[in-house]
């Protein structure tokens, strides 16, 4: 426990700027990471993460440092594309209606799943820290989901990744596709409300 604490402290002082206010922020972020803040303080700090790019970087750095101290494997989550790849694997989970009819998963896949869930959670944390330059974009509506977000909205912020995502294209495809046999708006049934955040474009 103590060693973990010092990781974060180290991360706090390693924050890009060490002005008094900034350092206090690093400390408080470290406490947030350890779950030592009062709920009210958590909220205000998370609010700040939304708009303060500097604090956001510190937050990511704190997480990286802590993870690196714990294990190289966990730290690799921070490498570019890893989160996206795991998110992709998550989204590609069983698609058939009857899961029992699917071929059994390989042992490797099964092993991946608990970690994948954790990554989804991590992505949310990073998403909360998005700088305010996106505040006017429609995506920002999804990002401002309350902490008690459902799984569906948990996945939405993954779209902040700049790599091409099925969701974005799906919304555009849905607009112009024409179901032959079902009511015309049925393509809209397929996509979640979160997808609509993309509509501003």
């Amino acid at each position: 426990m103590n060693s973990e604490r010092s990781d974060h402290d180290h991360g706090g002082t390693a924050a890009p700027r060490s002005g008094g206010e900034e350092e206090g922020c690093g400390q408080r972020l470290s406490c947030l990471l350890d779950g030592e803040l009062e709920p009210g303080e958590c909220r205000s700090l998370i609010e700040r993460l939304r708009s303060d790019e500097e604090a956001c970087r510190t937050w990511v750095l704190l997480n990286c440092v802590g993870d690196a101290m714990r294990s190289a494997e966990v730290a690799s989550w921070h490498s570019n594309g890893f989160v996206a790849r795991v998110s992709a694997a998550l989204a590609g989970e069983p698609t058939a209606l009857a899961p029992s009819a699917l071929p059994p998963r390989s042992a490797g896949r099964r092993w991946l799943l608990p970690g994948a869930g954790a990554v989804a959670a991590a992505v949310v944390l990073v998403a909360v820290g998005l700088p305010s330059r996106q505040a006017t974009s429609p995506e920002a509506v999804a990002v401002s989901a309350p902490p008690a977000a459902t799984l569906a909205s948990v996945r939405a912020p993954v779209q902040i990744d700049r790599s091409p995502k099925l969701e974005r294209y799906l919304a555009a495809h849905r607009e112009l596709s024409e179901p032959a046999l079902m009511p015309n708006s049925t393509p809209y049934v397929r996509t979640s409300g979160a997808v609509l955040q993309q509509e501003g474009r």
């Binding site: 069983p94 091409p164 294209y169 607009e175 596709s177």
Partner: protein, 334 residues
């Protein structure tokens, strides 16, 4: 065969059976006269397809549509009214943030109450593509075979069960449950090559006929809301320097320049009468490799990097088809 493993789905099925009802006489009148049981029995599979298409466009109905894909189950309220010329529709997803989709002919308004925003999507067929109506059933039968596989009661309705099998593995199959009295599609499944359902849509609480037009009104007054129009400008792909090749039977519906994720993209939409796919072409902003997008139910995608462009194919087609279409995209001399 499909096994309904999910308890949620089993519950939903019970809900459908309990709650569906139908004013069948009205429905039959609207569908063009009540057909005798013998006449209905004599219908050929392809006739059924035409009847389904007509019923979906011409009947007035309101109900709850249940959509299932994997463990994901969503319900939406659907109201459909045909005013003699165009169809009007209102769709309310029942989960997630409140949203409503109000459709009138080819225009869809997407209401986003928390942002006080209306996003208007308008389909306008490219003039350079005359006569691209959705593929007729005759054309459809060149790529699929349709057969009547039985008769089942679904949601309290006497349904004809049809199966649509693709001739090739480059597209999916379907299983359809059609209300024999009204011709309305009550349930539909998209099937992979092993006959497993990839997604399913079904009506619950269905009421056919006697729909009050007030039910088409949105839940919120949109006075003072910001209105954003998604503009699609028809383009000629060849003039833009691109040659696309869709699988046999897929006809072009639209070719447009449109906003996408902060930038502009070319989008071409193809349909074979049942499935559709879109090809997006955008300028590449960052380096990356070509890759398949994660599958979602029947929807697959493939991203292909081409020099300074990114080609993305998305549609209700198998993964291999999406990749083949992406790889067939060609730059032509300008």
């Amino acid at each position: 065969m499909l096994r309904l493993a999910s308890p949620t789905w089993r519950w939903l099925c019970s809900a459908i059976l309990l709650s569906a009802f139908l004013s069948s006489t009205q429905a039959q009148e609207r569908a063009g006269g009540a057909a005798s049981a013998d006449a209905i029995d004599a219908r050929r599979p392809e006739q059924w397809l035409q009847i389904i298409q007509q019923a979906a466009r011409r009947l007035d109905y309101a109900g709850t549509m249940v959509y299932q894909q994997g463990t994901d189950v969503r319900m939406s309220r659907v109201v459909h009214v045909f005013d003699g010329k165009v169809s009007h529709e209102r769709l309310q997803p029942m989960e997630g943030r409140p949203r409503e989709f109000i459709r009138r002919a080819d225009e869809v308004k997407c209401l986003i109450p928390e942002a006080r925003r209306v996003v208007v999507e308008r389909k306008s067929r490219a003039e350079s593509f005359p006569g691209f109506a959705a593929a007729g059933t005759a054309e459809l039968l060149q790529h699929y075979s349709v057969r009547i596989v039985g008769r089942e009661r679904v949601g309290g309705l006497d349904c004809q069960v049809l199966e649509i099998q693709p001739h090739e593995g480059d597209r999916y199959g379907y299983r359809l449950w059609v209300d024999r009295a009204s011709g309305l599609l009550i349930r539909s499944q998209t099937l992979n090559e092993r006959g497993e359902a990839l997604e399913q849509m079904a009506f619950a609480d269905l009421r056919i006929g006697g729909i009050d037009r007030d039910q088409l009104k949105p839940s919120w007054s949109t006075d003072g809301w910001k209105v954003d129009e998604v503009t699609h400008r028809p383009i000629d792909l060849r003039e833009q320097g691109w040659r696309l090749l869709a699988p046999s039977g897929f006809r072009p519906l639209y070719a447009v320049r449109r906003p996408l994720a902060g930038g502009q993209a070319l989008q071409a939409v193809y349909s074979d009468g049942l499935a559709s796919l879109s090809v997006f072409i955008e300028p590449a902003t960052a380096a990356g490799s070509s890759e398949a997008l994660p599958q979602r139910g029947p929807i697959n995608g493939y991203v292909r990097r081409m020099d300074d462009s990114i080609v993305t194919v998305v549609g209700e087609v198998p993964a291999d088809t999406a990749r083949t279409v992406a790889q067939a995209v060609e730059r032509i001399g300008r």
